[in-house]
Structure formats: structure tokens, C-alpha cells
């Protein structure tokens, strides 16, 4: 970048893919986002489709992968996990659709993240190049529509995904609680903590930090009003959400990494690649 790209006279300056007068390493961050999100998408898609090893019952443990929770039906041919809300896999399921319980539910948290204001800005940059970086030219010039028209106008449904995501928080918290009870000999359950328990406990905490810092939630708890100081509880709630919201990006990445890691951990334990260690 010794010689900056200059397109003056004006107003066509940024035009031209990756054209910029910036001499710094502006591309590092969008590149990291591309790699990070890309890796997660590849892994989670694979993990969602395989339909096995989502529950670890080794040594009495009870770890359920968050990709598969809530578990509506156990996958066909898999030993019952005890988590399935409606029992065995339905027989009417069309054969041409992969039979994985993750597919039934993963659209909800996936949609929440996809429509999240932080991720939107991040993937528009890294995946769409709109723009690739600040003051850096993008590939599209004529047909930019932003979020004004279909399909991206649907991003405005974010708050509905939020409602679902809050439900998921309870379910995942319950899973973490379940992971504290180990089945002993004779089927008796006893309290215990394994590495997997810790992994499953951290998961809803990070997800909570992310979900409860959501921009839509911030709007709903108080942001929609101009004055909230006369309502102490509301003011407090708004301040709390605002506080989490300031770190929304960090919560988003931490929770994304951890939810993937949790799945991986459960998967590795379930398939016997590693052994969970019981601490207590």
C-alpha cells in the first residue's frame, strides 16, 4: 500500500473492490471474523447433521449437547437419552431429509444470531464486503438495498428470535442442572460434578450474557420510552441490559465459541475419544 488509491474528483472514491488509501492493517479484523464465523458454521452444520453422539451417558454422566437441546425426539438408532420431550423419532419423517434432532431446533438460536445487530454488521463486512472495511471499497455498487427490502428486511424479526432465545436459556440452564446428577449403580441418581458439568454450566452463563445484552431487549425493557427515571425497577433493568449491551460483541464471541466447544466436548466424551473426569 505504498501509493494510496485516489479517485478524485469526488464521490467515486471508494468505488472499486478493496480500494482504499488506508495504509494500516484494516483487513485483519474482518478476516478474523470470516475465519471465526466460517469455522463455526462449518463445524456446527456438520455437528447438526450427524445426528449421533449428542448425549454422553458414559460413567453415569448426563451431558446433552446444546446443539440438540431441547431434544424433541431421540435420533433414530440412537440409545434413548432420557431428554427427548416426545420420545422416539417419528416414523413419518421423510427419508430424504436427514434424520437429526438438531435440525428441528437449531434454526431458533441460529436465527437469533443471524439477525443479531452485532453479527449483522460483522458478516455484512466479512462475507458480503459491504463494506470490507471502513473507508474501503466494496464489490457492489449499483444494487445496494441495505435492510430496506426483502430479503434483509426480515432482519427486523430479531425480537421474535430473542423471545425464543430467552426460552432456550432456561432449557440450557436445566441441562446444566441435569448434568450435576450422575446415575450410579442400580439407577440411583447422585449429585456430582465432572469437567463436563462445568462446561455445561458455563454455557448458559455466557449465552445469558449475550442474550440479555441484546439490542432488542434493551429496547423492550426501557429503550422504547423517553423517560424511565420515575420507574426504579425499569431504570435498573434498562441499565443492566445497557451494561451487557456495551460488551455485546465480546459476549457474542465468547458464547459462540463455548457453545461449539460444549458440543465438541460432549461429542468426544460420548464417542469415547476422551474420558470425562469426575471432580466431585
Amino acid at each position: 500500500m505504498a501509493q494510496p488509491d485516489v479517485h478524485l474528483p469526488q464521490r467515486r472514491a471508494g468505488v472499486g473492490f478493496l480500494k482504499t488509501a488506508r495504509g494500516d492493517t484494516w483487513y485483519i479484523q474482518p478476516l478474523l471474523v470470516l475465519l471465526g464465523l466460517g469455522a463455526f458454521i462449518v463445524y456446527s452444520t456438520w455437528a447438526a447433521f450427524v445426528g449421533v453422539d449428542y448425549h454422553c451417558g458414559v460413567n453415569g454422566a448426563n451431558y446433552l449437547s446444546p446443539f440438540y437441546s431441547p431434544l424433541l425426539f431421540d435420533a433414530p438408532g440412537v440409545e434413548p437419552s432420557g431428554h427427548a420431550w416426545f420420545g422416539a423419532w417419528p416414523s413419518w419423517w421423510p427419508a430424504f431429509i436427514p434424520a437429526s434432532p438438531a435440525l428441528l431446533i437449531l434454526w431458533a438460536p441460529g436465527g437469533f444470531r443471524f439477525t443479531c445487530y452485532y453479527y449483522r454488521g460483522a458478516y455484512y463486512k466479512s462475507f458480503w464486503g459491504a463494506p470490507p472495511g471502513c473507508a474501503v471499497g466494496g464489490p457492489h455498487t449499483k444494487r445496494y438495498r441495505g435492510e430496506r427490502r426483502l430479503p434483509l428486511i426480515l432482519q427486523n424479526a430479531h425480537r421474535y428470535f430473542l423471545y425464543l432465545a430467552i426460552g432456550f436459556l432456561f432449557i440450557l440452564a436445566y441441562d446444566a442442572f441435569s448434568a450435576m446428577w450422575f446415575v450410579g449403580e442400580g439407577g440411583a441418581k447422585s449429585f456430582g460434578i465432572g469437567i463436563g458439568t462445568l462446561v455445561l454450566v458455563v454455557n448458559p452463563i455466557l449465552l445469558g450474557g449475550y442474550t440479555l445484552g441484546c439490542h432488542s431487549l434493551r429496547h423492550l425493557v426501557g429503550g422504547k420510552k423517553d423517560c424511565i427515571s420515575d420507574n426504579g425497577a425499569q431504570k435498573k433493568a434498562y441499565d443492566c441490559v445497557s451494561c451487557l449491551n456495551r460488551g455485546h460483541m465480546r459476549w457474542a464471541w465468547a458464547s459462540l465459541f463455548w457453545v461449539g466447544f460444549t458440543d465438541l466436548y460432549v461429542r468426544l466424551c460420548a464417542s469415547g475419544v476422551i474420558n470425562d473426569v469426575r471432580i466431585f
Partner: protein
């Protein structure tokens, strides 16, 4: 005073019909900002180098330019934070029509602002014509009122910079302006329709470049644009809030 060392600046010279980067070398001493260097170049070798400035203390927002490709105020960019081993590039803002050298025509911004519905307060609370407002409630609005109208956010916004949606998209500056009015504890006007259909807030894809370049450190995207987008959702897109409104007449 510290020692003076020579630094080369690569400054855009020209007008709407064309121009080129020109190199100037001048002595830099401790604490100097880019604007000082430009002034020195004017006094020493280019008296007709056009450059808009005013307060030289980051309070008026006149000396916006692109320093090494980054939209910044020249008066708040210290020389000691720039790599001077290579020439320092100074370009005018790219989003607005060029007048000459580093000066651009930003009058479009003033036109946009005029079209946004003006402040309309509720009736005064007290006999002397004054109102009561809690500090906690005015703080949100005060953040937006820090804006010095340097238009760096407009410059960096790709919707304007690259896609040239100038007529229909009002840009980050005017979203903060609208936010400040919409969230004002006293205001009774409704600008949500305007936001959606005239200012076209939907063009914004929240890449936060405006927030990054703001010299006043206003959290433009998170505190102004996104909350406005949410209010627009309430009004126009969310079926549930629309349903509620049917049962709660007389709210607006």
C-alpha cells in the same frame, strides 16, 4: 521545544476538474498536530492551499479530512501517533463534492437536516415557561448533542461513500440528530414514518464505521441508530405491537 524533524506530506491539490497529490516537506516539533503541519505548509510554501478549519481544539468540526486513508479531524491527530517514516497522505473527504484541495462542499448535510421535523415540546410544566426533567433521562439525549457536525461519520458511511444514496439516505449524523429529537423527554413529534421512508434508516447495515470515526466518541450505532431501528420496527413491522395499538387507542 524539542527538535524539529522533516516530514513529508502528500497532500491532494486540485479542484472538481482534476488534480494530483503533491509532496511538501516541513519541520515537525513536539506536540504538533496534522493541522499545524498544514498551516506551516501554507505559510512556507503553499499560501493558496485550501483547508477549512476553525477552533483547532476539536470543538467545531471543521477540519475533517482523510489522513492516511482514515477519516479524522486534522486538529486532533497528533503527529507523534503517525508513522512519519513514509509520506503522510492527506486527502479531502471523499463522500462530498470537492471544492478545492482539502475543502469539500458539505452543504447537502444542511439541506437534509432542514427536512427533519423540528423539535416540538409539550406544554411547559411550570408557570415561568420551564420544564422539569430528570438528569437520568436527559443523559441519553446529551450524548447525541455532543455532535460537532464534522460529518466524518457521513464520510465513512459506505451507503453514502460508495453507494451514493445521498438523496434518499440521511446518514449517521442525521440519525443522531433524529434520535436526539425522538428521545427528547419533552418532544411530542413523531418522526418514525420519516425515518423509515424519507431518511431510509433501512439502508444502514450497522457496520459501525460511523461510531469508529466519531471524534466525540458518540456511540452512534448502538445508542442512536439501533434504538431508532427498533422503534421503527415497533411502529411498522412488528405485528404484535401493531395489534396492541388497536386495543390501546389514543396513544399517539
Amino acid at each position: 521545544m524539542g527538535e524539529s524533524r522533516d516530514v513529508t506530506f502528500r497532500v491532494w491539490r486540485g479542484d472538481a476538474s482534476g488534480g494530483a497529490l503533491k509532496d511538501y516537506t516541513t519541520g515537525i516539533t513536539t506536540g504538533m498536530v496534522v493541522l499545524d503541519a498544514v498551516h506551516q505548509i501554507q505559510a512556507e510554501s503553499a499560501p493558496d492551499l485550501a483547508c477549512r478549519w476553525n477552533c483547532k481544539a476539536g470543538k467545531c468540526g471543521s477540519c475533517s479530512a482523510e489522513i492516511n486513508g482514515k477519516p479524522r479531524l486534522m486538529c486532533m491527530t497528533r503527529m507523534d501517533e503517525i508513522d512519519t517514516s513514509v509520506p503522510v497522505t492527506i486527502l479531502p473527504m471523499q463522500t462530498f463534492p470537492l471544492i478545492r484541495d482539502l475543502v469539500t462542499d458539505v452543504s447537502w448535510n444542511y439541506e437534509v437536516k432542514k427536512r427533519i421535523k423540528k423539535f416540538r415540546p409539550r406544554k411547559p410544566d411550570n408557570a415561568d415557561g420551564s420544564w422539569n426533567m430528570a438528569q437520568a433521562d436527559v443523559e441519553r439525549v446529551q450524548e447525541f448533542r455532543k455532535c460537532i457536525e464534522c460529518f466524518l461519520c457521513q464520510d465513512v458511511c459506505h451507503v453514502l461513500r460508495e453507494h451514493e444514496r445521498h438523496p434518499e439516505f440521511s446518514g449517521p449524523r442525521h440519525f443522531i440528530y433524529t434520535a436526539q429529537l425522538e428521545m427528547h423527554p419533552l418532544d411530542t413529534e413523531d418522526r418514525l414514518g420519516q425515518l423509515k421512508d424519507e431518511q431510509n434508516i433501512g439502508y444502514c447495515n450497522i457496520t459501525k464505521c460511523c461510531t469508529k470515526v466519531c471524534p466525540e466518541h458518540i456511540t452512534i450505532t448502538d445508542n442512536a441508530i439501533i434504538p431508532l431501528k427498533e422503534r421503527v420496527v415497533d411502529e411498522f413491522y412488528d405485528p404484535m405491537t401493531r395489534l396492541f395499538r388497536i386495543f390501546k387507542p389514543g396513544k399517539k
